[in-house]
Symmetry: C2
Subunit: 168 residues, 2 copies
C-alpha cells in the first residue's frame, strides 16, 4: 500500500508508521541471514555449526572465561553448551584449565588451532560488516549501533556493555 509515510498520528515521539516499523523488522530478519551466511559456509562440512561458532567467539573475546560465565552470555542450558564444548575440547580447539583459586571452575582458552578457526570465521564476518559499514557511512554506523543496543533486553545490554569496556 502506497500509503502516507511520516504522518505521525498526533504523538511526536511516534515518528514512524506501523508499516515502516514492520519494514525494520523485515530488514532485521534479512540482514541476520546475511550476517550468519559467511561463517555458516565455513562451518558446513566441518563437524561444527553456529553453536560452536558462538562459543569460539566468546572464548576468544574473553579468554579464561568460565563455563557459567559463557552460559549467561549465550543464554543456553549447560547441557547444551556442554555438548558443544566437549567436541571443541576433544578436537583440540579449546582448552579447559582448572581454576587456581577455585578448582571447581574451568577456565576456557582457545588453542592455536582454535585461534586459527576463530580468525577465519571472524575475518569472513568482518569483511561483510566492514563492507556494509563502508556502504552506509560513518553516521549510519553510529545509528545502527544505537538502535541495536536499544533493542537488547536490559540484561543482555548490560552483558554487552561489560564486554565493551572490560573485554579483551
Amino acid at each position: 500500500m502506497a500509503s502516507g509515510a511520516a504522518q505521525d498520528s498526533g504523538e511526536s515521539l511516534l515518528f514512524l508508521t506501523d508499516e515502516q516499523v514492520r519494514k525494520g523488522i523485515e530488514a532485521m530478519f534479512f540482514a541476520y541471514r546475511g550476517f550468519t551466511a559467511d561463517p555458516d559456509r565455513i562451518l558446513e562440512g566441518m563437524d561444527y555449526g553456529r553453536a560452536h561458532h558462538r562459543a569460539i567467539h566468546f572464548i576468544h573475546r574473553s579468554p579464561a572465561t568460565t563455563v557459567s560465565n559463557l552460559l549467561m552470555i549465550l543464554g543456553v542450558t549447560k547441557q547444551s553448551l556442554n555438548r558443544v564444548l566437549r567436541s571443541l575440547i576433544e578436537d583440540g580447539l579449546v582448552e579447559a584449565r582448572v581454576g587456581k583459586r577455585d578448582k571447581r571452575e574451568r577456565h576456557l582458552h582457545l588453542t592455536e588451532k582454535g585461534l586459527a578457526l576463530e580468525r577465519s570465521l571472524s575475518d569472513a564476518q568482518r569483511v561483510r560488516m566492514r563492507s556494509a559499514y563502508r556502504t552506509a557511512g560513518p553516521a549510519a554506523v553510529q545509528g545502527f549501533r544505537q538502535v541495536l543496543e536499544a533493542m537488547m533486553d536490559p540484561e543482555l545490554r548490560r552483558q554487552f556493555q561489560t564486554l565493551k569496556e572490560g573485554g579483551v
Copy 2:
C-alpha cells in the same frame, strides 16, 4: 583493549578498527536475541515456533503468495516449510487455495484466526522496535536501516526491496 578509537590506518574508507567492527557483530547477536524474544514468548506453549511466526508474517505481508514464493523469501527447503504450513492449515490459521490458472500452485491466506495471531505477534515485536527507535532517535533509525540493507545478500536485498515497494 582500550586502544585508539578512530585511527583509520591510512585508508579513508576503513574508518573503524577491527575491534570496533567486532563490537558491531556482537551487538547484532545480542540485539537479535531481543528482537525474537517477545514473539518467542507468545509462541511457547502453543505448538508453534519461530518458523511458524516467519511463515505467518510473510503470508500476512503478501496475501495469496505461493509456496515457492515463500520458499525463496524464507530460504528453507520446501519440505521444511511444508511441515510448518501443514500444521498451520490443519489448525485453521492458514488457508491454501488451489490456483485458478495453475492448479499446482497453492495461494496462501491467513484466516481470521491466523490474522489474530499475526496481530499479537507483530504487536509485541513492534512495541520493542518502536521503543528502540524512540530511544535512538530518527537519525539513528535511518542509519540502522541503511546498514542492515547493506548487510544483506544481494539476492535477499532484492527480495526486501521488492516487498518494500510492491508489498501489501
